[in-house]
Amino acid sequence: MYAAFFFIFAGAAVGFAINLLIQRHPVYSALSLIGVMASLASLYLMLGAEFIAAVQVIVYAGAVMVLFIFVIMLLNAGEEERTQRSKLARQAGAPLLLILLSLVATVLYKQFPRDSMVQFGDFPGQTAPIGRLLFREFLLPFEVVSVLVLIAIVGAVVLARKEP
């Protein structure tokens, strides 16, 4: 049961990510990315991270991606033109990426014992402890991040403002 769910959502995530690369219109790419995010939210649920799964949908899929689509629609961007400017990326890109993937994957695969299994209900989602951690141990990072968000708001307003 668990394995079946895992392969469904993992397959969906990889499929949507590949679709993001293949599609030439940015709106289709954005939709694929939303698909990836939704599949990841399901995987988070399977890992017992209920709160993170909900926040993933609310923040990423519900706010950040809406912003992306809003900008794409606002700029009325058409299909991507393929310019072949960078020879290096064209020729060396794919092999280098494969090497990167195999390196990272083997290291990760070797590092973790095969008997460390994941199953439902082993590590149930705990929202209250996350809140407690966030406002006790991680209070300083939390405040710093809120200042960062404020700076980002001001920066975005200044950048997107009509010039006088």
Binding site: E50, A61, V66, T127
Partner: protein, 335 residues
């Protein structure tokens, strides 16, 4: 996973779906009747007694209409958008508790689930607006994305006060925390959280794109906004999604602020009938909120777009924030 669990959940889901579709259909009749009375007309009277069969006639009309796809649309998202709208609207009911035990799934993060699902609702509208490849639709889609992001913020902030009082994200526990009375007044969240309720309800009207915030489909300027290019069943799906969202918003207002299935007076019915009482109170409150929706629609004119945005950002969000700060102060002082 045990088989009986799956079967029982499926049955529950089907029952909720059927009831919901009926409610959404009759909500249209309800709205037309009430708005007609507000405007000193009669509304539907011809089909059946009091026009009660009108929803059926509407459904037949929409089903038999030609399913027309305009040239130049982006096909896949054009077809996907109405389905997405309706699916997302229905998903919210997976966690809504209609009474003690009358709930499809009791999630620990029920409230976050509802917020997450309703934040996905914007995609149906935005996609429809973009995929129709028409300027009216595009304008409607753009407006709705900006509007829904802005008012989502107000909704989330106004709900946090309730979370502080209830101490849980599970909708069932939020309702349970509102049982009992303070003297003569029931322990509903609306009394300590009046400001929060005010923010929540206004923002909920904006989230469901209802008058006076129906900018995404403002008939007088955008033809019909995001669903201009849709007809037949695809249009009907947007329509049902909108009314389902109204029901969701009313259910949420009931659960979060008006004590869910708890009645204002103790019931004195005999034991066998006792099980129906919570359902009765819940439905009564939901119908009341739906009436307020329709009443507002019949009374207020549409906002201008800049008014809508400045109202959301300069009034509603700060008000919800102040409410949150005051609530947490009071709770901290009493602890």
């Amino acid at each position: 996973m045990p088989l009986p669990f799956i079967v029982i959940t499926l049955i529950k889901a089907i029952v909720v779906l059927i009831v919901l579709m009926t409610v959404a259909a009759y909500l249209v009749w309800f709205e037309r009747k009430i708005v007609a009375r507000i405007q000193n007309r009669w509304g539907p009277t011809r089909v059946g007694p009091f026009g009660l069969l009108q929803p059926l006639a509407d459904a037949i009309k929409l089903l038999t209409k030609e399913d027309f796809t305009p040239a130049g649309v982006f096909r896949v998202p054009y077809l996907l958008a109405p389905a997405l709208s309706l699916t997302v609207a229905l998903l919210a009911f997976a966690v809504i508790p209609f009474g003690p035990g009358f709930q499809i799934a009791d999630l620990n993060i029920g409230l976050l689930f509802i917020l997450a699902i309703s934040s996905m609702g914007v995609y149906g509208i935005v996609l429809a607006g973009w995929a129709s490849n028409s300027k009216y639709s595009l304008l409607g889609g753009l407006r709705s994305s900006a509007q829904m992001i802005s008012y989502e913020l107000a909704i989330s902030l106004s709900v946090v006060g309730v979370l502080l009082l209830g101490g849980s994200l599970s909708l069932r526990e939020i309702v349970s925390a509102q049982s009992g009375v303070w003297g003569l007044v029931p322990r509903w969240n609306v009394f300590p959280q009046l400001v929060g309720f005010f923010c929540f309800f206004i923002a909920a009207i904006a989230e469901t794109n209802r008058l006076p915030f129906d900018l995404p489909e403002a008939e007088t300027e955008l033809v019909a906004g995001y669903h201009t290019e849709y007809s037949s069943m695809k249009f009907a799906m947007f329509f049902i999604a909108e009314y389902t969202n109204m029901v969701t918003a009313s259910c949420m207002a009931t659960i979060l602020f008006f004590g869910g299935w708890h009645g204002p007076v103790p019931s004195f019915l005999p034991a066998p009938l006792q099980a129906v009482v919570p359902l009765f109170w819940f439905s009564l409150k939901v119908v009341l909120f739906l009436f307020v929706y329709v009443w507002i629609r019949g009374t207020l004119p549409r906002f201008r777009y800049d008014q809508l945005m400045s109202f959301g950002w300069k009034f509603l969000v700060p008000l919800a924030l102040i409410n949150l700060v005051v609530t947490s102060f009071v709770i901290a002082l009493r602890a």
